[in-house]
Amino acid sequence: MTDIRSAAVIGAGIMGSGIAAHLANAGLDVVLLDLDPTVAANGVARQVKSGGFMDPRFAGRVRTGSSETDIRLISDADWIVEAVAERLDVKHSVYSAIASERKPGSIVSSNTSTIPLGALLQQRSPSFSADFLITHFFNPPRWMRLLEIVDGPLTNPDVTRRIAEFAHTRLGKGIVSCKDTPGFIANRIGTYWMGVALNEAIKLGIDIEEADAFLGKPFGIPETGLFGLLDLIGIDLMPSVLRSLQQALPATDPFQDFDAEPPLVARMIGQRRTGRKAGAGFFRLTPDRKGREALDLISETYRPLRSVSVTVGTPRAAMQHAAKGGQLADAVMRRTLSYAATLVPEISDSIADIDEAMRLGYGWKEGPFELIDRLDAAWFAKALTARGMTPPALVEEAAREGGFYTSASGRRSYLVPGKSYQSIPRPDGSISLSDLSLSAQPVAGSESASLWDLGDGVACLELRSKMNTFNFDVLRSIEELTERVSRDFRALVIGTELPVFSAGADLRLFLNAIERNNRDSLRSFIVAGQRAFRALKFAPFPVVAAAAGRAVGGGLEFALHCDAIQAHAELQAGLVETSIGVIPAWGGCTELLLRVVANPELPHGPVAPALHAFNVIGSARISSSAFDALRLGYLRPTDRITMNRERLLSDAKATAIRLSEGYAPPEPQLLTLSGRSGASALVNVLDTTELAGRLSPHDRLIGEKLAWVLSGGSADPTKPLPEEHVLGLECEAFLELATTPATRERITHMLERGKPLRN
């Protein structure tokens, strides 16, 4: 599949060590070198601490050393990434060392964000230049999905293709090809936005909370807004970043039109108010460390946070708002969006690539051209004119054509200047339900769920409820659609376009039944869920859950009933029912027990699997990655992990096809459970937790019920019981807990505040 099996990273700073960690996440053997080998070792330790590794054990895949004395360690590497300081002389000497040690055919790339490719390659041989390109990662490399790739006239196109394919499939990156211009795409536009916004905000003397409220949510820009982001990056870093771009760009570029280091910023740096790393920036913690304070841009003193009472709404409403925030949003976005439109074709020929870079590199929900579409290109052109600005030709063209994007042809297409629309290329092997919905209708479905035809005899079940939660209708649809699949398809994939796989049961439904003290209604909800999920489990075709994002509570129970889970690497899975005062009762306890018993890597015997499940369910643990989910026992060792979310559905489809050859549904299993003596050991865990002050009174009751279920009630270890026995216990324990006032408080609290109550 790929010929990149080992890698070396030179330079073990934040970026270098983060890239090394992520290469290890992809299963590679990695060498990480720095001048001082202890810096390299510390880099690995830092990544373990900050979560750069998807499993802390992956740190064992990274070998560290000195880039001077251990440079021969790179001789096995298929890919060598240079991530040293942004100094041309330093980079040149590193390349000389690489050139003499690397093996023929290895690929060399630089993580530079400021130095042109041509300058990097001065004095290098043609063969080195053919194997060389820029791969620009974003921080932190595990989570930021953008990889900007810049190749030069001498770069072998096959080298670029290999890196792009590897980074997409194995590193999960979104690849954007950039031209060799300063700041490439994302930083050119992103730092312009920051520079303009900072200067405008200071000029207006606006409350920084108000600024972030207007610049953030309405435009789909992350919650950190501007000032939270500056604190995170480091306020002292901004002037040098902005200045270096200003120096690299021509005098006529609008990037020159703002102050790279406004006096306020200079004073803040002087006072060591440089952001989060210094403990104070635009925000700081209150002296008691319990709350936060904001810097007043006029008095330059800290004051308590002010809540922003205006509802901002759409981007257009934000820009037209009378408040200072509205003036800010108008000034900043008018200039930023229009600047982006002038950068085609200078930084890229494709507006779709520019939008993608801003989404993946800066976490914007929509890129600049999508935002102009949202504002309406014609309106935007008029708004520019009204403010005395000349609308860029590209905006005028979009206004004439009816926008930057269209789906009229049944495929999502983007405006190519002078050539009308072209469909957005999708990487090989990616399937998306939203693409599919532009050209096809579901083969069956209801308001609750749709069934799509993915081709090759594979169907895809997509829930349509909010956050893919379950109510009676959804459960009924699952049963009906399962019937349909068994008639017309050979396999089923469960997938979604939402960022969550499923948030589980609809809590309002629970709460209504509890408030009416309607035990029968609760029981029938539990029974309906168990029946629907078991219909999937024992269906005559294989079912594969394509799980990404959050799969919690009933959402995870849904996935646990599938023959396989195709997991996205960043899967956050958890049986979190105890946090709302109940236990998993849609087969979650039963299925986790079955998985633990069958897992050769987890302890065995009459109590050990129950003890493991008890600790996992009792703590409501949510996995920090798919690899973590594997250790917790949610995933089977045979389940497969997909690094790139875009490939999840197609990978799940391939798994489903593979399983459908000679498929036979599973047989119900017998479980050996320890009964009261094992339960006694589990309750002992509660005793110790209680003594340590980490168990609330209701936690104790929930724990006792959970112990009872997982040890099989009155089971005897010499008499294995059918799995349905545990299912019955789940239902009973659920009903007993659900009808307590403390559970009702927990559910109410979760619905109202979105976080768990410990009562």
Partner: protein, 378 residues
């Protein structure tokens, strides 16, 4: 009745469970390494060995399959040598020494290897599949399974505060670190040859700790309690063994024993204050040896918890400063099944090194027991 003698003693380095240098080593291999080294060092004819008696608190998994016999075979001893496993939880290997001495006194053999092993990394405390009797009420179950709770109970009953416990713990660390620095532990340690190098030093000792650092630790068991990881013994991997021989064997082979086993005693107590077990056991063993506890010059008392040692000293009217000259389990570690033989072996070495007539080794045992053994200079 034949007298029994401690002829020799060795142990592996004791290293922290999970993160120490021996975490990857199977406990049977660990114990076999020390048995082999002991046989080699004492230069006895292996054919003369009657039995390998091995203490182990949680004898399952890699510690199962009668680890005593497993270790006898792994140690390349003649197949005629027996092997058995003894379980008295933390008192297991002191019990193993008693079993050897008891057999000698009834003429059931002349040469025994008595030792113990615990990999607290590879077999969890309380085992993989704990199944306590469900008829026990919560208090009894908890007293049986939660050692930290029993330590907190003693702290409350004896009014021993956090500072007193931390001060004792610091002293244990200081003594162990000094002994380590002066090479005083070298004689008893048999280095372990691991796949990735030789392990020759104890790994648990924290000689750099201070009272301030100890005071900052969170309580480990009870939110409002006083017992911390700093004033308790750590989870440890290790093995130990002593060579126990009869008087006639020693005479015939011209061996120079380190000490004679003078007496032994076990005594039960309330499970919820199991840490007080050494008091009654010590009194019994002293009486059987015909001495008073105050006659004993060398005192090795296991430090499961600082508070438990302090409570025992109070009842026995012993100055805690007299205990554990080279540091105790808080610093050195407490691989459950291996500790008893370490205490007996160490007491015998100290008698020889520092002089004196009597030495005492004693320890508390979970579930509510104490064991004690009195040695007399040979």
């Amino acid at each position: 009745m034949s007298a029994a003698y401690i002829v020799d003693y060795l142990r592996t380095p004791f290293t922290p469970a999970h993160k120490g240098a021996l975490a990857g080593v199977r406990p049977d291999d660990l114990a076999a390494s020390v048995v082999k080294a002991l046989v080699k060092k004492s230069d006895i004819d292996p054919e003369t060995i009657e039995d390998v008696i091995l203490g182990c608190a949680f004898a399952e998994g890699e510690q199962g399959l009668n680890i005593g016999r497993t270790v006898a075979v792994l140690s390349d001893l003649p197949l005629s040598v027996g092997g058995s496993t003894v379980n008295r939880w933390c008192g297991s290997s002191m019990q193993a020494v008693q079993a050897a001495a008891g057999a000698i006194s009834m003429g059931a053999g002349d040469v025994f290897i008595a030792g113990g092993v615990e990999s607290m990394t590879r077999v969890p405390m309380m085992g993989f599949n704990p199944m306590p009797n469900p008829s026990w009420d919560a208090a009894l179950r908890s007293a049986f399974l939660n050692m930290g709770l029993t330590a907190e109970n003693l702290a409350t009953r004896y009014g021993i505060d956090r500072q007193e416990q931390d001060t004792y713990a610091l002293e244990s660390q200081r003594k162990a670190a000094a002994a380590q620095a002066d090479g005083k532990l070298r004689e008893e340690i048999s280095p372990f040859l691991a796949d990735d190098g030789i392990v020759e030093a104890d790994g648990c000792v924290r000689g750099q700790t201070t009272l301030e650092k100890l005071a900052q630790l969170k309580t480990a068991f009870a939110e409002d309690g006083s017992v911390t990881a700093g004033n308790s013994s750590p989870l440890t991997d290790g093995a130990s063994a002593v060579l126990v021989c009869s008087e006639t064997f020693i005479r015939d082979h011209k061996l120079s024993p380190k000490a004679r086993i003078a007496s032994y005693a076990v005594s039960g107590c309330a499970p919820e204050i199991m840490g007080i077990g050494p008091v009654a056991a010590t009194r019994k063993a002293a009486r059987r040896a015909g001495i008073k506890p105050s006659d004993v010059g060398i005192l090795e008392m296991n430090e499961a918890f600082a508070v438990q040692v302090l409570a025992c000293c109070r009842d026995l009217d012993i100055d805690p400063a007299r205990l554990n000259r080279d540091g105790g389990a808080i610093a050195i570690g407490h691989p459950l099944g291996a500790t008893g033989a370490r205490l007996v072996g160490k007491a015998a070495l100290l008698l020889q090194r520092d002089g004196g007539k009597y030495a005492l080794a004693t320890q508390c045992v979970g579930g509510g027991q104490g064991v004690a053994m009195v040695l007399e200079a040979a």
